[in-house]
Amino acid sequence: MKGADSFEPGNGWSDGANSIPPAELAARARTARVGLRVFLLVVSSLFFLFLVAFLIRSQVADWQPLTEPLAPLASPWQLWLNTLWLVLGSIALQWARMAARRGLLGATQIGFALGGVFALAFVLGQLWVWQQFVAWGYGVSSNPASSFFFLLTGLHGLHLLGGLVAWSRTAIKFRRQVPLVQLGASVELCTIYWHYLLGLWLLLFALLTSTPETYAAIAALCGLR
């Protein structure tokens, strides 16, 4: 996320915000979007490989499913709640993005702020789930399913925290009253990233709460069994 957000000129370049012509601003925004998309490709590769590792490991006999009646994900209502936060965050940012395109500063600010707050709520919610896991005796090393749960949700959370760093940098720009054209570009990047992390979370959520039979079926389909 950092990669995409810090496309402003370096130490040798002029950085007077007002002196940059609009055509060039648009070009820079395009470049930043391409950079972000390439970065998302890298993140996809990372999680794809984790998921393959997950599927292979799930086929070993010592796997204890987290979805059994007395296991922590038997009724994952907390995860549903967290999912709601993330969905709301994405909606809020999308709203800010559309407001920015129409030149509405107030609505952009509100949507953008809400997007960050909801993301933070999600991260805190995930930490709460972790605490529950530990309280129930499902620590990181208790069994491979639980290890993967911590690993995957942790990495997803770290990516969201990275997004929040970019988000707060943009928030500072709001406070410095940078022109909306430039803010719009940053809001756009945050929105793309939030949507991506929502999609990724839905995938992880679906996988982590699936039954061993589903894993077995997917593994068989991929030739991993």
Partner: protein
């Protein structure tokens, strides 16, 4: 496509304090030099480590401090440093940083700040790696592949701190490589100057571009395996660790899959070979074309071969695991894909040779290295065809035949390109030529010396001499002659090692005392030779970005006097050059 998404004439403020100019610099050229010098520095450490290993192998017991643990630690660090911290960093961070913006006509990378961070993360990863020499237990001795369970269970050297530092260092390196790779890819996609279509880019840029994509997609596999192994080591999980009895005690792990680690590692490890090889292919194409004064043969084929090799490199990884055991159909599949990759690779070799065919070959130092590369890559590549077949690989696996193969193909061959490319672009970087005589001496010792090292290793492999052994006494199947050969190899290796001092001396001495080079000493056509200043100033191009009118290989164009047409020359200007040439032919003495 997007041309010149960067500013045409942005206001430039040269950084003027020493700190912003040379240390915390965001200029791609300074970052390139920082990357290169750091990589060469760690490379020298790895070179010394290989010398120590060779002393033990050639003259067992000659070094008092060399026991089995130290040997394995030297071996592990040598391999990891050479593959990742030297070659990957030098090709992408060094040459990629320096050449991409100059060759595509950009003022800098598109994200200069991230580019600077990339270097500092790289430096941090190097420091963490080198720190492992000084921790209790020393660096890890698990072999550069770090296979669990032995890499984290007691018994292997460096399982207390060394392996942790190694994994952390790798993770930091991957963050650095990702930040760099984002820049290289996005710059090529977005910051090419007017008229620089993708199919007009020099092959150097194509090679580095494709290698960056491979790095972006393959390094995550190493990251995944490093993170999961750190969990196993520090948090007691069982991702890779099976139920195991170590030193008579049942460990707390169960059910983990060491083979899973191997798959992940090689899903990174094989593309890594091409992360190193593709930039070398690209750079050497430009060296050959420039110094043979001839356009590259089959440019389009060369580009598509680079792309095809890049794609194929993701479906061959398990050929490193034939001896780990797998479904025979998998073996068949991976052997087939491995052999298919030889097709685009051979195509490149043919095209290099056909570029040389009837060219005006100048045996300059860069050209000597380029020619040596073709030969060396051919030798290393051919033994790859042997090893790609399951039935040949299984008896040869874990012998010196494999050591010879991969050192030829991804050790010596790329390093020859590194040397050639440094001799070639040094005048642009410093404004001075490197000393020719020293360069030739360095070339001949390195070229002949590496053959003296690695050729005999093929025979040792056929004799069945196993690799990774610390000592070879008391094995009946290894004859005394093998020991003599080992002593010979050690002498050759030490000679080659010491002769690199010639290169280092030349590198630093010529920066001050070299012959002034001028802007375009080799008569190159690509954009980096057309900069208004040499070395190029901050922002590279002065007030106006260059405009590109032709591909990067117009050498020896018929009908004009000079034997090269820079990419910036338009068709009208070329016509004028033609008329001038024909006028002087008619008017001048015949």
């Amino acid at each position: 496509m997007a041309y010149a998404e960067q500013a045409e004439a942005e206001l430039l403020h040269e950084p003027n304090s020493f700190l912003t100019k040379y240390i915390w610099s965001q200029d791609h050229k300074v970052i390139a030099i920082q990357y290169s010098l750091t990589a060469i520095f760690v490379g020298l450490i790895a070179l010394v480590l290989s010398g120590l290993m060779r002393m033990q192998l050639g003259f067992p017991g000659s070094l008092a401090f060399m026991d089995a643990s130290t040997y394995y630690q030297a071996m592990t660090m040598h391999g990891m440093i050479m593959v990742i911290y030297l070659l990957t960093a030098l090709f992408l961070g060094g040459f990629g940083n320096y050449l991409i913006p100059l060759m595509v006509g950009a003022r800098d990378m598109v994200f200069p700040y991230v580019n600077m961070l990339s270097y500092w993360f790289y430096l941090l990863s190097v420091i963490v790696l080198l720190a492992s020499f000084f921790v209790p237990g020393g660096p890890t001795g698990a072999g550069w592949t770090l296979y669990p369970p032995q890499s984290i269970t007691p018994g292997s050297p460096g399982t207390e701190w060394g392996i942790v530092l190694m994994l952390v260092s790798l993770a930091i390196f991957i963050v650095a490589a990702t930040m760099g790779g984002l820049n290289y890819v996005t710059t090529v996609l977005q910051a090419r100057t007017h008229g620089m279509t993708l199919m007009r880019m020099p092959l150097s840029v194509w090679g580095i571009f494709m290698a960056s994509i491979l790095a972006l997609l393959a390094f995550p596999a190493l990251f995944v395996s490093a993170v999961m192994m750190l969990f196993d080591k520090l948090l007691g999980t069982s991702f890779f660790m099976p139920a195991i009895i170590s030193l008579g005690q049942q460990l707390d792990h169960q059910g983990g899959s060491p083979i899973l680690f191997q798959h992940l590692f090689w899903f990174f490890g094989h593309p890594e070979v091409y992360i190193v090889a593709l930039p070398a292919f690209g750079l050497v194409s430009d060296l050959i074309s420039t110094h043979a004064r001839k356009n590259i043969f089959g440019y389009r084929m060369m580009v598509w071969a680079i792309v095809a090799i890049g794609v194929l490199s993701f479906v061959v990884w398990a050929h490193h695991m034939y001896v780990s055991g797998m479904n025979p159909y998998f073996g068949f599949f991976f052997a087939t894909t491995t052999l298919i990759i030889a097709v685009p690779t051979a195509l490149k070799v043919y095209n290099w040779v056909l570029t040389l065919w009837r060219g005006d070959i100048h045996l300059t130092v860069p050209m000597l290295f380029a020619l040596a590369f073709i030969v060396t890559f051919l030798v290393g590549g051919l033994t790859g065809l042997f090893l790609g077949n399951v039935i040949v690989d299984i008896p040869l696996s874990d012998t010196y035949f494999v050591v010879a193969h991969f050192h030829m193909v991804m050790g010596v061959a790329p390093i020859l390109v590194v040397f050639g490319a440094i001799y070639h672009w040094y005048p642009k970087i410093t404004g001075r030529m490197m000393n020719d005589r020293l360069g030739k001496l360095h070339f001949w010792i390195t070229f002949l010396g590496t053959y003296a090292i690695y050729f005999p290793m093929h025979y040792l492999g056929f004799l069945g001499m196993p690799r990774r052994y610390y000592a070879y006494e008391n094995y009946d199947f290894i004859p005394q002659s093998a020991q003599d050969l080992n002593a010979f190899i050690t002498v050759a290796a030490l000679t080659v090692g010491v002769s690199q001092l010639l290169f280092l001396f030349n590198l630093f001495w010529s920066a001050v005392n070299g012959k002034p080079a001028g802007g375009n000493p080799w008569g190159g056509v690509s954009l980096e030779w057309q900069t208004p200043n040499t070395p190029p100033h901050h922002g590279n191009w002065g007030a106006k970005l260059p405009v590109v009118h032709r591909w990067a290989y117009d050498y020896s164009v018929p009908g004009i006097e000079q034997d090269f047409v820079p990419q910036t020359v338009s068709d009208e200007e070329l016509e004028q050059l033609r008329q001038r040439a024909s006028a002087s032919k008619v008017g001048g003495p015949s």
